[in-house]
């Protein structure tokens, strides 16, 4: 088995590395470059904890090989806010509305919601719950997560209206 060299952007920084083809993107992020914010729950696409944004789209990083991310722009939970002390609107809403307890599922919810709310800030509770069915949380009972998401939707709507849609 031959390793492959890949070059990608992770949270705005260029990363060049050799990877084994079998290494999935989640393991590469955690072990290859030390970004342990991305969590692994099931490793077969069921729990959503490993969700990251690849070219702006939420994907399960356990179901994508690191070699396939060659040339891509990846955003992990560490890259959602502008800098270390900031929170993105969805992160701030999770804090305010108690959207997490242990935090294991949280990176997956935050990255998934970032795509969902940027694309559809008008989403209602019923659709929101359906779209979030691919992310499992064993602590919260989801009520806080849904409240946080609906509150954050308002912020994404205002950002879109004032033409500041670029901010995550």
């Amino acid at each position: 088995m031959t390793t492959k060299s890949i070059s990608l952007t992770v949270n705005g920084k260029t990363v060049d590395q050799e990877v084994e083809p079998r290494t999935h993107l989640a393991d590469f992020l955690r072990h290859g470059i030390g970004l342990t914010g991305t969590h692994i729950g099931c490793e077969h696409g069921v729990c959503g904890a490993c969700t990251v944004l690849v070219d702006g789209q939420a994907v399960r990083s356990c179901l994508m090989l690191a070699v396939q991310a060659d040339g891509a722009e990846v955003t992990t939970v560490e890259g959602l806010a502008g800098n270390a002390d900031d929170l993105s609107p969805i992160q701030a809403a999770f804090r305010e509305f108690h959207g997490l307890q242990c935090g294991y599922c949280t990176p997956g919810f935050l990255t998934s919601l970032t795509q969902l709310l940027m694309e559809n800030p008008d989403i209602g509770e019923e659709d929101l719950r359906k779209e979030l069915s691919g992310n499992l949380c064993r602590c919260t009972g989801y009520a806080g997560i849904v409240r946080a998401a609906l509150a954050a939707a308002q912020a994404y709507k205002e950002a879109a209206a004032t033409g500041m849609g670029g901010s995550r």
Partner: protein
């Protein structure tokens, strides 16, 4: 778990991809990876070579001409669900795609990947069966097309050769103004359906001029409910008729597994058929909701 080691290949075009699959031992194509990578991680699948089709650009695309719809094999499920022209012409696609995994897996999952994997509860296989699809496959030596009736060979195994690649699938769309219904039952939204029913209906002067009913998730592959389709011909839509159609589903094959018994699946097939037909008749009658 972690995948066993393999070599990774990234062909730039079809010819390269077909060369590779024709010459490498124990090789598999990688499409969206939303089932295959999970199987590799769990070591249900162990390969020596993975041939990534994500850079073969001419395999993706949606073309609609008259009553034909062709989806390229590498068309993302999300692209099919979001296609506005298709949603206007045949809304059942967006409705069915909504049940395929979750939005995160549809961002990467492909049409050809779903057909190749052939999960018994796959909604895209159900639509292909409902709309008499033709699956195009290509090898170095030839290009051929298989009717969906001849496509399933065994459990999760289509009738295609080791050196062949699925390149696209063409659906026969129902007429303008048709009605449709799509219902499935699963433990959770996005989970594998225990039973699902897809139906199409066309009316002429208040009576049924054409129906198609497909039941899926009940056995190896989706099945057309021919007996029910036949008994609906030229009838006037109504609850008694849907109940009679639901009773005409005994000749399908229902399996028992850890999720449900064959008898429970048979019961669900009846209930979901009634609902799908009622929806289809209402929509064919002009209520498009």
């Amino acid at each position: 778990m972690k995948a066993a080691a393999f070599d990774y290949h990234r062909p730039a075009n079809r010819a390269e991809a077909l060369d590779m699959v024709g010459s490498l031992d124990n090789a598999k194509f990688l499409a969206g990876g939303q089932s295959l990578v999970a199987m590799l991680n769990m070591r249900y699948a162990i390969v020596d070579h993975l041939i990534d089709l994500n850079h073969v650009t001419d395999l993706a695309g949606i073309e609609m001409t008259g009553d034909r719809l062709r989806l390229g094999a590498m068309t993302r499920q999300r692209a099919v669900k979001d296609d506005a022209a298709l949603a206007a012409r045949a809304p059942i696609f967006a409705a069915a795609l909504d049940y395929v995994g979750h939005f995160q897996t549809r961002n990467r999952g492909t049409v050809g990947g779903s057909l190749g994997h052939m999960d018994p509860s796959a909604e895209l296989m159900a639509l292909a069966t409902l709309m008499d699809a033709e699956v195009e496959v290509q090898s170095k030596a030839q290009t051929r097309s298989l009717s969906i009736a001849d496509y399933p060979m065994a459990y999760m195994t289509p009738a295609i050769e080791m050196d062949e690649m699925i390149t696209g699938v063409t659906f026969a769309l129902p007429g303008e103004g048709h009605g449709w219904g799509f219902h499935e039952h699963a433990q959770r939204h996005g989970d594998f359906a225990i039973c699902g029913v897809a139906a199409l209906m066309e009316l002429a002067g208040g009576t049924i001029s054409r129906t198609a009913i497909t039941v899926f998730g009940i056995g190896m592959a989706p099945q057309r409910a021919r007996a029910a389709e036949d008994m609906l011909a030229s009838q006037t839509p109504g609850d008694d008729l849907y109940r009679a159609a639901a009773d005409a589903l005994d000749d399908l094959d229902y399996t028992t597994d850890a999720m449900a018994s064959a008898a429970y699946r048979r019961r669900l097939a009846g209930v979901l058929t009634r609902r799908a037909l009622a929806d289809a008749a209402r929509r064919a009658g002009g209520d498009r909701r």
